[in-house]
Symmetry: C2
Subunit: 368 residues, 2 copies
């Protein structure tokens, strides 16, 4: 699993003359190995820190908590595990992880790339005195922009889950129901379709709250309300993202006009996606389309890349001169907002192909 990712990283490290590296960010660990520990409850109380990946002399080692050893072994690289929970002694995951790291790293010298924004300070301090530490945060991010075939398969399975979520949202949005009720309908449909627990974000907000987005609350849907549903699932460490806007009853003429404009803006955005298209130029054209239609321009990005994080390159934002290339996966999400009143946002995911864009999200974004 993820051999191509490790080959890319190996080539990159070799070219930079870095024979050793320690990766600690969840994004790097998942991208390099396919291993993605559960996140839904926060840090594991028995772990001494995040899972680590050690690279030396072209070889890779994953260092994980013992209860993650079986899942980590699926990554296809050697995994070292350390003791977390025991009833025989006080919990000492940090001491155990420290010992596992020291024994894995050994008495190395020379340059060592380190993700020091994710590595706990006590682990960095434990690296041998002969090691010359090189800040390495973000180094892998450019290598992640073009997705591998294995990653595309994961992303497709993941976008299918947000499609399931949107199909559950539409009939659940009725006057008298609350945001949290709609959310549980979406969440349940996705978990049942996946056959296991899958983390779920993003926005599930109604009416005056629709413009700002956010997690669902105890807010009751009123007749005629607009309702923005923006969903990201995280499947095996890979993110999806897609958005729809729905209505509690028949949308008004104004709502329908906004919705049609957002749909046309999304259609325009998709039509602009092809190899060589410049991210910032797509952003400019889609914003201008909204302005030309007589609406205020949206406050957020026109889109962004996705993978082992929910927001990465290519960012479709004003300043970005990054050209699109085949194998990138891009979210596009124009919206129209009247703060405190109403909002519409529609979002699709596309794969940049050799000639244009393949739409990966299949949810129904039509007016009722």
């Amino acid at each position: 699993m993820h051999e191509e990712q490790r080959q890319r990283a190996h080539d990159y490290l070799k070219a930079r003359g870095i024979a050793q590296a320690l990766f600690a960010s969840p994004a790097s660990v998942t991208w390099l190995t396919g291993f993605a520990p559960p996140v839904q409850l926060g840090p594991n109380p028995f772990a001494g820190g995040p899972p680590l990946v050690w690279y030396a002399g072209g070889e890779w080692t994953l260092i994980v908590l013992d209860s993650h050893a079986a899942a980590a072994a699926a990554g296809g690289i050697p995994a070292v595990s350390y003791l977390g929970y025991t009833i025989e002694a006080p919990i000492a995951g940090a001491d155990q992880l420290l010992a596992a790291l020291r024994s894995t790293v050994g008495n190395i010298v020379g340059r060592v790339g380190v993700e020091e924004r994710a590595l706990p300070a006590y682990l960095q301090a434990a690296l041998p005195a002969g090691a010359e530490l090189v800040s390495f945060d973000g180094a892998l991010a450019p290598l992640r922009v073009i997705k591998t075939a294995e990653e595309l398969a994961k992303l497709r399975a993941n976008f299918a889950l947000t499609d399931v979520g949107h199909a559950a949202a539409r009939p659940a949005i009725r006057p008298g129901q609350r945001e949290i009720d709609v959310w549980t309908a979406i969440h349940s449909a996705i978990q049942r379709a996946a056959g296991r627990r899958v983390p779920l974000g993003n926005d599930c907000t109604v009416g005056a709250r629709a413009h700002s987005g956010g997690w669902p609350l105890d807010v009751v849907i009123q007749p005629g309300d607009s309702f923005v549903v923006d969903l990201s699932t995280i499947l095996d460490g890979y993110w999806s993202d897609s958005c729809g806007t729905y209505y509690a009853g028949e949308p008004s003429q104004r709502q329908a006009a906004m919705h049609r404009t957002a749909a046309a803006a999304l259609e325009l955005a998709i039509s602009l996606v092809k190899p060589g298209a410049v991210s910032g130029e797509i952003d400019r054209r889609v914003r201008q389309f909204i302005v030309d239609a007589g609406y205020p321009v949206y406050f957020h990005h026109t889109g962004h890349g996705v993978g082992v994080t929910g927001h990465e390159e290519p960012r479709i934002v004003p300043y970005n001169d990054m050209p699109l290339a085949p194998g990138m996966v891009v979210l596009l999400e124009p919206g129209i907002y009247f703060p405190g009143k109403t909002a519409v946002r529609l979002e699709d995911a596309v794969l940049v192909t050799d000639t244009g864009a393949e739409v990966l999200t299949k949810h129904d974004k039509s007016l009722p």
Copy 2:
């Protein structure tokens, strides 16, 4: 909010001659301020690291991502926020957090307590050269064992949510349903009762999987199966925990006998809770009860404390000589396991009172 916690920490720091400290663990940040950022999707992609609490000269400052500033302000101490997301420039949360930390800390000298197991290495490296760093991980844990009145209110609200979850689980456990279907029934009931999103663990496993526990999968319930439901919700950063065992149809004589023994063991455990009782002695007595009933002894703790983490002192385990004291909150969870075949576990939460124990969990643990 959480004034009493900060007073305890202040007194402790003063007694140790530590005039400055930097807290980075989620447990410390929540305990000191009441602020608990969402965890369900993993680390925020726009954050430079975890929220931080800086203590100097008796004053406290919370450092958070800008999108958390409003929630952080509820903590009642000054909050410094830093820029995360922007469409005007590349995402640079780490640089922003670094600058916020430097500006908050200033040019201090002398001893500085540091949670170096939770603090990212790049932030520790940015502390002034005149600072003498003192490892401070776990220092607050002993101060957290006795709960404040404010914490008890949070924990009571939280245990009420797991009660809701158990009430939803019992009717959902039917032959032909899957573990994940039971889980969505539990999860939905809890979110609807809370009126907002609440993280939820732990075990939701049937039949041969019941002994090992784990998250729900696509496993179908068979007639006569035992089903273990162990629930932790995290409400405003505080954990709950409680367990029930249910049956797909009428339990067999063997299942009923195991269940009654586990219930009696739990009753015994609760009866042993009082100020001065020694944790390890409670553990020994409850294990012996299971052995005397002719069953194999369980592999896990008899119980554990709970608060801003799901597993803390007092651990009710063999080696622990910690005496119980009023204001502690303890989980008690004896079980009987036949690996690969069946299992039963029943768990209640108790508050240690001046004279004994008050049971905080109210879920129905009776046989059908």
